[in-house]
């Protein structure tokens, strides 16, 4: 059995199920009760004020409090609205969540799930459009989840809430995300297992989160031009499924990484570096990154479109590689 759900509804389903399952799961954040993004809808009526609660605006405390709750046996699910607000609550993320388990010699587990929207495209301007996950990836101690489908959103979030580590669950901001089939009942997606969204033999395109859609569109377009693209969706960036990616690159000899985060020290750079180290022998051309350049997101929609990766730039990157063998052309 499957059901058609919007990504945001799948998130809502996962929260309902996990809060039912485990009374130690709590949700809080700014305006979670009325649920501005929709993912928390109905939870307050159903679970009441001890389980889900609006907070004052104080991100430093919201993230720090999650550490305290985790230390005493609760699993805090914190909604932070936009990933830009990670910066406002960054101390407990960078200095506590990512470090406390090692610092205490393994005494604490930190079952924490942070939810936030990311990315541009809605004219929200720079302070509400960051794809702020590379910053998290560099901390070394937190999981980073970037679902692209409603089914994965549900399955990854459930895994996160059953987990005993801090996990950041990143929703594409705005409009509730994509619609897709979600398996009925218990549906868990393990961390660190990529999904091959489309098989192909000429070029591997690894695309992250909201970028899976334009990557698939590009693959369609390229198929018409006789280029066979394999589209991989890592689903989680930490942990990262190296094996699936390396296997694909072994087959195609080419890699394009598509990521909405900024390029410098971004997820695309990390992934390119892994492949340049571990599948170098298989590469038959340069690794291309299609990313948002190193800029703050502009407000004007035309300027946003200019910097956010889209189908055209992906097609161009693939075409710059397809057909190359070994080091024939530079």
């Amino acid at each position: 059995m499957v059901e058609r759900r919007r990504l945001i509804q799948a998130v809502n389903d996962a929260l309902f199920e996990e809060m039912e399952r485990d009374p130690k799961v709590l949700v809080y954040g700014e305006d979670v009760e009325l649920s501005i993004t929709g993912d928390m809808r109905g939870l307050h009526e159903h679970f009441g004020h001890d389980r889900i609660r609006n907070t004052p605006i104080c991100e430093a405390t919201l993230t720090g409090m999650a550490v305290g709750l985790a230390s005493v046996g609760y699993h805090a699910v914190v909604h932070m609205m936009f990933s830009n607000f990670f910066y406002t609550g960054m101390d407990a993320i960078g200095n506590q969540m990512a470090k406390l388990r090692l610092m205490t010699g393994g005494q604490v587990e930190l079952p924490i799930t942070i939810i936030a929207g990311y990315g541009g495209g809605a004219a929200n301007a720079a302070q509400h459009s960051d794809s702020a996950y590379p910053v998290l990836m560099n901390l070394g101690g937190v999981n980073v989840l970037t679902p692209s489908t409603p089914a994965d959103a549900k399955g990854l979030l459930k895994t996160a809430i059953r987990g005993r580590n801090p996990s950041f669950f990143l929703e594409p901001s705005g409009r509730g995300g994509e619609v897709g089939d979600v398996p009925d009942g218990e549906h868990l997606v393990p961390f660190g297992r990529a999904a091959v969204r489309r098989e192909g033999g000429d070029v591997t395109v690894l695309s992250i989160g909201r970028m899976v859609k334009p990557a698939l569109a590009a693959a369609d377009a390229l198929a018409g031009q006789g280029v066979s693209v394999e589209v991989i969706d890592p689903r989680t960036l930490v942990p990262f499924d190296e094996a699936s990616l390396l296997a694909s690159v072994e087959k195609t000899g080419h890699l394009v990484v598509v990521d909405e985060a900024r390029e410098c020290c971004g997820a695309a750079s990390q992934i390119a570096a892994v492949v340049a180290e571990k599948a170098f022998h298989a590469l038959e051309g340069p690794i291309r990154r299609v990313t948002t350049p190193n800029v703050a997101m502009p407000y004007a929609p035309n300027a946003e479109r200019h910097v956010i990766p889209g189908e055209e730039r992906i097609v161009a990157a693939v075409l710059s590689l397809a057909g190359r063998t070994h080091k024939a052309t530079a």
Binding site: E30, D31, P56, I57, C58, A126, V295, Y299, N302
Partner: protein, 346 residues
């Protein structure tokens, strides 16, 4: 609003009891401008003409206007996500703001910032800000600069009741007290943080947080432009004369939604009554209507004079919208060229 710092200082003593009739008319016109601009934004947003979210200040105009009346171009303000009122009250250009919100090259930020980031640094408007509470530290820094300059300048910092729960408030109250900085903290308590009533997330009285630092503090009816004007006159004089920071808590009410897509986003969810909103729109409460009534009652202006002002304002708003609509779309290449000043080793 364009009078210089020096002018204001010499006038101050005489005006302490309240604005003159001429000044009150000026305050009225400025409030009305903010109101009409935002009504137009409300409509254009509903019509899908504006790209991003707009957060409107309707109902709170007396705060920005009452405070900024005491400021010159060389004074600074920091603002919030709800910043059109501060921008206009501080003398920002209506056309340039409108074009910004319409994402045009002619916009005050060349279409790169939008509604949440309107700024005109040449007029001391350091910017609306999408991060709740961020203006507090920026204003404190600007006030430190103003103090070092030694020219009697100051920084006014507008922030909400919601922002009052960000720790940076306490940090800046502490630091500005210690360093005797010329900053006026203006808390716009409009009883909501987004869809959460203030009382659910804000313990105690906000003004008491400043009183804990023995900071001179005033709580005023933020819908009475004269009351705001008076409290601000004191605070500004204190700042200019080296007396350090002050705190004003202005009690007011947000009439529109948190932002213009609110009803859509909440899809039926409610956090306040229609009656409550209606009450705040009445002449006894609404800052614009109230000021209008005062002007008439005091004889400072008659209906005809007010109508003339109202017509003038509407012309200004229409002109600004036409200007914005006719503007050139923002230049997408700016994102890449404007990040850094390109003059150094880089």
């Amino acid at each position: 609003m364009a009078t210089t710092v020096i002018d204001r200082r010499t006038e101050q003593a005489a005006l302490r009891s309240g604005p003159s009739s001429a000044e009150l008319l000026e305050l009225y016109e400025r409030m009305l401008l903010v109101r009409r601009v935002e009504e137009r934004l409300r409509d254009d947003s509903a019509a899908g003409k504006l790209p991003g979210a707009v957060h409107l200040y309707i109902g709170e105009e007396a705060v920005a206007v009452g405070v900024c009346a005491h400021l010159g171009d060389r004074d600074y303000v920091t603002s919030t996500h709800r910043g059109h009122g501060h921008f206009l009250a501080k003398g920002g250009d209506v056309r340039a703001m409108m074009a910004e919100i319409w994402a045009k090259e002619e916009g005050i930020c060349r279409g790169m910032g939008g509604s949440m980031h309107v700024a005109d640094v040449s007029k001391g408007i350091l910017g609306a800000n999408g991060i709740v509470g961020a203006g507090l530290a920026i204003a404190t820094g600007a006030a430190f600069g103003a103090k070092l300059d030694g020219e009697g300048k100051l920084a006014a910092c507008f922030f909400g009741d919601g922002a009052s729960n960000q720790g940076v408030l306490m940090e800046t109250l502490n630091l500005s007290t210690l360093w005797e900085l010329p900053v006026v903290f203006v808390c716009e308590n409009n009883t909501f943080s987004e869809f959460t009533p203030s009382r659910e997330v804000t313990a105690g009285r906000i003004a008491d947080r400043a009183r804990a630092f023995a900071m001179p503090t005033a709580e005023v009816d933020g819908n009475d432009v004269v009351a705001v004007w008076r409290a601000a006159a004191d605070a500004v004089e204190r700042a200019r004369s080296g007396g350090g920071p002050s705190f004003i808590e202005a009690h007011t009410y947000r009439i529109q939604g948190h932002f213009e897509a609110e009803a859509f986003v909440l899809s039926g969810g409610r956090y306040r009554d229609d009656e409550e909103i209606a009450a705040w729109k009445k002449e006894e409460k609404d800052p614009v209507l109230r000021c209008r009534a005062t002007l008439l009652a005091s004889g400072a202006a008659d209906e005809a004079a007010l109508r003339a002002i109202e017509a003038r304002v509407l012309v200004q708003v229409d002109d600004a919208v036409r200007f914005a609509e006719a503007g050139t779309p923002a230049d997408p290449a700016l994102a890449e060229t404007l990040m850094f000043v390109r003059d150094e080793g880089a």
